[in-house]
Amino acid sequence: MIELKNISIVSGSFALRDVSLSLQHGEYVALMGRTGQGKTTILEAIAGLRMVTSGDILMDGRNVTRLAPAERGVGYVPQDLALFPTMTVRENVGFALKVRGVAKAERDARVHDVAEWLGISRLLDRRVTMLSGGEAQRTALGRALSFKPKVLLLDEPFSALDDETRQEMHALMVSVRTHTGVTVLHVTHNRAEATALADRVIQLEAGAIQ
């Protein structure tokens, strides 16, 4: 379970105050709201990429507010995907495992499994700069899920896709949930996407969860 308790984040003229939110195990929550409301800021705070001014972030009852991102075990897919451009798809997907010192044989097996159910097996040796939009999305998802995180944070990852590819990605997200049971917090502007994928849709307005 993820719990945000009265989180406040102040950065220059931007302020998010007293935000509270909780997600149950395996729940898929869509976070909506107008641009500039702080949706990305909330995801970054959960991932440990942004310091909170006050309040606490709990994961499975453990206070992770002051923990480094690496210690939180959260999968994160940003809007621009931020794939590692000097690496192949295989290296991107296996990155988290390599950093954790997982043996090559085990790493290869896991990368193979993840690639299989994300449909990117044939792309493993391709440079990520040579991928289409949908292929890049799948690779970013594979990279975020490779180390079996309990929580997956998605920051509008499908916003730049054409309708057909977006539908494919929606189907893939349903399969990801079934496959992993991961808890998902998904920022989106697309109401149809939110209702199609999420168990619950929440709205961020004027710096507060509605």
Partner: protein
């Protein structure tokens, strides 16, 4: 080539004429040097032990200065591009000083730094008595004089390089289990490879062309601290214009070989 109107053609021609005029100037300079010199003079030069010594010393000191420049430029460029801290504006301005200062002043400042008594002890004397290193008027002074100027150019290049790399990939790496150091080594640095080649090349080329600070801080002693740029000065000072021009051509050749090799490395890496 795109289909173009008359105004497009005028615009393109203007670009080529203005840009080409500078290329023409460089070509004319080289042609003039070549016309003034002869293969015989070059061959004669290469037979002189002091010139051969100067060539090797030039290659060695330029490489050492470029390596030292990279050692400071990569971390400093990254710090300036990624971190916000108090007095950053001052650090920004300070690293630009060697770029804007007359090179001679850099040499003079180095000389003063090593010979200014602090609590009665000079840095030069301290290094000699404690570490056995002689700096002033010795080879280390050549490297330091080159490094003092070349380092600033390398820092500037690396800062721009890291500025152009979006930090998001490094942030994602943190969520995937990296420490900040791992994110730097595994994600940021591989992306900066082309910038590093460029920074090394610029530092090396600046070091090759450095003259003023070397003359002041290291002197121009034959078979000791003489590098190719000071050879030109020594030959000119005794009225030997032909030799000075021949050494200049030698510098052009050395620079071309090194720059082409480095560029080749960059292209290979890109492919």
């Amino acid at each position: 080539m795109l289909p173009s109107s008359t105004s497009d053609k005028v615009f393109r021609s203007t670009l080529f004429v203005l840009g080409g005029s500078y290329v023409l100037l460089v070509v004319l300079l080289l042609v003039a040097d070549l016309a003034y010199s002869s293969w015989g003079q070059l061959a004669e030069l290469l037979g002189k032990p002091e010139i051969v010594h100067a060539i090797w010393l030039t290659l060695g000191t330029c490489t050492a200065a470029a390596v030292l420049s990279m050692l400071v430029a990569v971390p400093l460029g990254f710090v300036l591009a990624r971190y916000r801290f108090r007095l950053k504006w001052l650090v920004d301005a300070l690293v630009e000083i060697p770029v804007v200062l007359p090179p001679l002043v850099v040499g003079l400042s180095l000389l003063i730094l090593f010979h200014l008594p602090v609590n009665g002890v000079k840095l030069e004397d301290w290094l000699r008595s404690n570490l056995g290193w002689s700096v002033t008027y010795a080879v280390p002074a050549v490297v330091l004089a080159q490094f003092a100027v070349a380092g600033a150019f390398a820092v500037r290049t690396m800062r721009v390089t890291f500025d152009q790399i979006h930090p998001r990939a490094e942030l994602v790496a943190l969520t995937l289990g990296c420490s900040q150091a791992q994110a730097f080594w595994r994600v940021a640095l591989p992306q900066a490879w082309r910038g590093m080649i460029a920074a090394f090349t610029i530092a090396w080329a600046r070091s090759l062309g450095e003259f003023g600070p070397i003359l002041v801080f290291a002197g121009a002693t034959r078979m000791r601290t003489e590098v190719l740029s000071t050879t030109v000065f020594l030959e000119l000072s005794v009225g030997n214009l032909e030799s000075a021009v021949a050494v200049s051509l030698l510098m052009v050749a050395v620079a071309l070989v090194v720059l082409l090799v480095l560029r080749g490395l960059g292209v290979e890496r890109r492919a």
